[in-house]
Symmetry: C2
Subunit: 370 residues, 2 copies
């Protein structure tokens, strides 16, 4: 079994991400080695529980880690105040103490929710991420951002709370739907587009192997975690550079909001794929990036089966003015000015702080399917 280890260096909050096949079955021993004597509450969703909860329970029991499971409905709606309260109550009902752990077994929804709960029960418990979606393995489980949604927007409520350990079982991805795998792949491509042009070129050549599994998959996930860990180590609390990770997300979140977070129409990674294509197009409209690079990005995303245009979203979208309002409500708004991640080409993204909303509006109108 070949496991890659990626450290996330954050002073006394430093922790390891282990990546490889079979880590769910090995979770008990990996956890008990680092957190001797710990007890745990596993937070998961119905889909993931069906495929992976029993092996995890068996592994924990084998290592002598007492645990209870809290299973929630799958889907973005679970990132709510109500579900948060359910998890908090469940953890307290299990009489866990500060030194005990919450284990998130699932995708980004479960990771964000369980991480938030672990950050507020007794003002902060231990936390272990066991991401089971590609998106969670390469993105949401790394970096300590946790949270839930509000009627006012996505991820508006939460805390920074770092895990003690991340166990990314690449084999768990075999039960993930193709659509969700592709959605997670958008975030993998994102790291290439931000500042790793060679990685992006490697992805263009090797994406089929990554989808099939095996060493290319582990390598792509590890490289993604390294990329994210680097940015997070530079800017743990998102006061600067970390905003680069939002490449594609300003447009993406607006589209998620505009489709009412209806995963039938759009899942997060699909919104990000369209958002990244739009960010490159918008950059080229502003004469920052060549149209060739924008088209190259679209071509690769489309090749793996990701949407790249607003017209790819089934159903009607609100008009450009309404979309702009969604963007303005997004949390990456600073004192009224629009902050965007723009780019000078593949692997050359940068933070642009004063993008005029008139330019954004004109661009949205040009690219609107109506």
């Amino acid at each position: 079994m070949s496991i890659e280890t990626v450290p996330v260096r954050l002073g006394d909050r430093t922790y390891d991400i282990l990546i490889g096949a079979g880590l769910i079955a090995r979770a008990g021993e990996e956890i008990v080695r680092r957190l001797p004597g710990v007890r745990a509450a596993i937070v998961t969703d119905g889909h993931v529980a069906a495929a992976h909860l029993d092996p995890l329970l068996a592994s924990l029991e084998g290592a002598g880690v007492g645990s209870t499971a809290i299973t929630l409905p799958p889907g973005e709606k679970t990132k709510s105040f109500e579900a948060l309260q359910t998890v908090v109550d469940g953890v307290l009902a299990a009489r866990l103490e500060r030194g005990d752990a919450v284990i998130a077994l699932g995708g980004g929804v479960i990771g964000d929710l369980a991480g938030f709960a672990s950050g507020i029960v007794r003002r902060g418990m231990r936390f272990v991420q066991m991401p089971t979606s590609l998106l969670a393995q390469v993105d949401s489980s790394v970096g300590g951002k946790t949270g839930i949604n509000s009627t006012h927007g996505k991820n508006l409520v939460g805390v920074f709370h770092q895990p003690q350990l991340v166990l990314a079982d690449t084999g768990a991805l075999d039960t993930l739907s193709d659509r969700e795998f592709r959605a997670g792949y958008a975030e993998v491509a994102k790291y290439g587009l931000i500042d790793r042009p060679d990685f992006f070129a490697w992805l263009e050549d090797n994406w089929r192997e990554i989808f099939e599994g095996g060493p290319a998959r582990t390598r792509a996930i590890a490289e993604s975690c390294r990329a994210k860990a680097e940015v997070v180590a530079r800017d743990e609390f998102e006061t600067g550079d970390r905003a680069l990770l939002n490449l594609g997300h300003t447009f993406g979140h607006a589209l998620e909001g505009a489709t009412g977070y209806d995963s039938g129409r759009l899942v997060h990674g699909e919104g990000v794929a369209i958002g990244m294509a739009l960010a490159h197009r918008f950059s080229s409209r502003l004469n920052l990036c060549s149209m060739d690079d924008a088209l190259r990005v679209e071509r690769h995303l489309a090749a793996v089966g990701l949407p790249t245009r607003m017209a790819d979203i089934p159903g009607d979208l609100p008009d450009a003015d309404r979309l702009l309002a969604y963007i303005a409500q997004d949390k990456k708004v600073s004192r009224g000015a629009l902050t965007f991640i723009l780019t000078r080409g593949v692997g050359q993204a940068f933070i642009a702080r004063d993008v005029p909303s008139s330019e954004v509006l004109a661009f949205l109108k040009e690219n609107h399917p109506r």
Copy 2:
């Protein structure tokens, strides 16, 4: 106007506590000087709003600080998930950004709730404490502990989130009921009992002046804040020494739980007063502290009109076994062993980590009114 300033030294989270009469009327200028350009959401309760909201709004407006007010029902029940969601939604509806501030205008309930909300909206906004009860001025507004209650116990859910500024208007205490003033005084006495025997002796001589107002009141509050700030600076995240501040609180919380947090029967500070008297009695039972010291403590607390015995609580209490169960559920339980703050005498409190529950039970039985 004589304002005392007490710094809370926490590295880059260092902030000032200003203490004195007239600070509500001066809040706008004090806030704008430190947080230029800030907008604010004021969180308060019905009692406090009636007496102090208009002057605060006028002061903020005069200083050019835009604000909205969120007014909640008074009382411990407001430290709930529901009220938390109300505050979070209100702050988001006001479209405040990360750099804007939540202002807590009220007692410890409002401070704990608003502080928690400010710690989780956008993963952490700015926060200003304007404590209006004596308890809040000397205790809850200092040190960054925020939170709400759960059906499983008090303060079990929350975050550490430091304010940028604390404005303690000693004049605001004139509208506080005598009973609430006395309850807050229990925490003032606590600092003397922990490690300031001279302060305790000064309180024995000067408590009447403190109750009347004027310089002795400001001095007592400032000395209390200095005492708390010192402990907090040593142990911001309560992994050690900070537990000393729980003198009287293990018994106190159990009694609050046992009376269903019914403020008609017992308010927090009254629970603490009884708890401190019990902690000294228990210490003397364990031959740690003289009975003389235990009686001296009871005498002073009773002199100011505070309860000191379980029998002073109106209505029936659960039996000793049930009380012990409340203690065991309290969050200061580490791996099953009971942690208590015990004492060798006035001003000589210490953390005792392995107190046998059999001793506690026997003591509770002896002191139980039934």
